[in-house]
């Protein structure tokens, strides 16, 4: 099961990185970044998983729990991700109303 998760993490990160590198459309770049963020979140949770463990909520029946720390970190990371995305999209809307396009070919030289 862990390997399925690691595989998904690698694909999400790679697909996102590929999108950020190759796509010229700014909206697409931010969609790719969002996918990468999902991948990192999955990586953190997978690191905290312990085979046979249960959710770290005390209920008296189980002795073995998964690591709660990465879950707390991911809660933080998800909210940070949505904040950055919202700001980015409002910037893109403004940029679109000024430039008329979201493709960066000329004006944005790297």
């Amino acid at each position: 099961m862990i390997w399925a998760m690691y595989f998904a993490v690698a694909v999400l990160l790679t697909a996102g990185l590929y999108g950020v590198i190759t796509k010229k459309n700014l909206m697409k770049v931010f969609i790719s970044l969002s996918i990468m963020e999902t991948g990192v979140n999955l990586l953190l949770i997978t690191i905290g998983y312990i085979p046979g463990g249960t959710a770290p909520i005390e209920n008296g029946n189980f002795a073995k729990y998964v690591d709660p720390v990465p879950q707390a970190l991911v809660l933080t990371a998800i909210v940070i991700g949505v904040s950055v995305t919202a700001l980015a999209l409002s910037l893109l809307i403004m940029y679109h109303s000024k430039a008329g396009t979201l493709e960066y070919k000329e004006g944005m030289k790297w």
């Binding site: 990160l13 950020v20 700014l26 770049v29 931010f30 970044l33 990468m36 963020e37 990192v40 990586l43 953190l44 690191i47 690591d67 720390v69 990465p70 970190l73 933080t76 990371a77 940070i80 904040s83 950055v84 700001l87 980015a88 910037l91 893109l92 403004m94 940029y95 000024k98 430039a99 004006g107 944005m108 790297w110």
Partner: protein
């Protein structure tokens, strides 16, 4: 002494500003003044007792988060808050309340990066700083500034993803997020994972710290931003980020291979920044590339600081010198001239400070770096320092020649603020304060 107030007060004030829209800038100014007072008090405490640490939420450090203030972070916290206050006076009049909220949050975030002792907490403060800076860079709301902000944002988001991967890799091996706890157990880590996490963290923080090859956003963002915001970026977020590199590289990974890696990055950054600055026509772009060059110099000092006490002294002086000179030059760059006495003074003093003339902080920075290079028998670093000085002198001479004497249209407050900012380099160069601070041990290096 409660360093946490440096973060809590600006956050509290930023949260209540929307209720008093009209007085927003004045409230923000008051908060910055209060913060400056606290940071000066913190500086004096650290100056007399060494390091200060504060526990958050009442749990002993690796269990809870703690703030670790050593001599370098106390100095930077003071610089960031003091300069933010002066800079805000220079630009605050015209700003609206949302601008002052974002400004406060950027300052709080940079301060947080500098004083926190927990790596994930550092990441959170990075995000506060970065999100506030993106919005501030775009605050002129024209096409140029939008482009700069978008570029900054793409690289910044990519950087924060890499930081998070780095943290995840470290956590997977050591089950700890406390920088000093990690540092004490780093040798038990799997070598491959350790290297991957060094690479990820360096990449992620490098975006904010403007080091090569992650500085593609720097010229555009600085060119697009207004002078006051560019000034804030040059003494706030970028200094905090370079400090984060110092803390992570010097404390967590003091290894010989990391030393060469960071040294190489520093040298390339220095060369690229200085040479690119030479051929720029736009003032802000030139200053931005010059900043990249200075960041390279500080990175070299950080790398050498792993083996040499003199190089650590150099970090202290270079940080102050660069913050003071670049902050005033960016404020000056809003208008294309130096007409009045105050602006002429600002221009000349900042340029002298950054080139490294004797009584200025910049001189001492380069001096101690030279000392470190001589002790370490590194001839090429000496050559590099002189080379960068000559190139800087060349483009700043051209800059002064072109703008000296032209008319400008600054308000009196702005002019005086710039002059004060530029003078800081002189003050800190003449007083032995920084020298004394630099001699103290940094937190986590050779005992607490």
């Amino acid at each position: 002494m409660h360093p946490v107030l440096l973060i809590a007060i600006p956050l509290l004030v930023a949260f209540i500003i929307p209720l008093f829209k009209k007085y927003g800038p004045s409230i923000a100014l008051g908060a910055l003044a209060l913060n400056t007072g606290i940071s000066i008090a913190l500086f004096s405490v650290v100056y007399s007792t060494g390091t200060v640490h504060e526990i958050i939420a009442g749990f002993a450090p690796p269990i809870g988060i703690f703030l670790a203030v050593d001599s370098l972070s106390a100095l930077l916290a003071m610089i960031i808050n003091l300069f933010a206050l002066i800079n805000f006076m220079a630009i605050g009049k015209a700003s609206e309340y949302k601008f002052s909220m974002l400004y406060l949050l950027a300052v709080a975030g940079s301060t947080g990066i500098v004083i926190t002792g927990d790596i994930f907490n550092m990441f959170v403060f990075f995000e506060i700083t970065a999100v506030a800076s993106y919005a501030l860079v775009a605050s002129r709301k024209d096409k140029k500034s939008m482009e700069g902000a978008i570029k900054y944002m793409i690289l910044g988001s990519l950087g924060s993803i890499f930081i998070l991967i780095g943290i995840a890799l470290i956590y997977s091996q050591l089950k700890s997020l406390n920088i000093y706890d990690i540092a004490s157990r780093i040798s038990t880590m799997d070598a491959k994972i350790k290297w991957a996490s060094v690479a990820m963290l360096l990449t992620g923080i490098g975006v904010e710290a403007e080091i090569f090859p992650l500085n593609g956003w720097v010229p555009d963002a600085y060119q697009g931003a207004s002078g006051g915001v560019a000034s804030l970026l040059s003494f706030g977020p970028s200094k905090a980020a370079i400090y984060a590199i110092a803390r992570i590289m010097l404390v967590i990974f003091p290894l010989q291979k990391v030393y060469y890696l960071v040294l190489t990055i520093g040298v390339i950054t220095l060369l690229i920044g200085e040479l690119a600055a030479l051929k720029q026509e736009n003032v802000k772009r030139m200053l931005a590339y010059s900043s990249i060059g200075q960041m390279g110099l500080i990175t070299i000092a950080i790398a050498m600081g792993m083996n040499e006490k003199n190089a650590i002294l150099a970090i202290f002086f270079l940080m102050v010198s660069h913050a003071s000179s670049k902050a005033s030059l960016f404020l000056l760059s809003d208008s294309s001239g130096m007409g009045s006495a105050a602006t002429k003074y600002t221009g000349i003093v900042s340029v002298l400070g950054i080139v490294g003339m004797p009584p200025f902080a910049g001189f001492w920075g380069k001096w101690y770096l030279l000392m470190a290079a001589i002790n370490g028998n590194m001839l090429w670093v000496i050559v590099l320092i002189f080379f960068s000085g000559i190139v800087e002198a060349a483009y700043f001479a051209r800059y002064l020649h072109r703008y000296y004497g032209n008319e400008e249209s600054f308000s009196r407050l702005t002019k005086y603020s710039m002059a004060v900012l530029a003078t800081m380099s002189l003050i800190f160069g003449l007083l032995p304060l920084i020298y004394e601070m630099g001699l103290k041990t940094l937190f986590g290096m050779g005992g607490v």
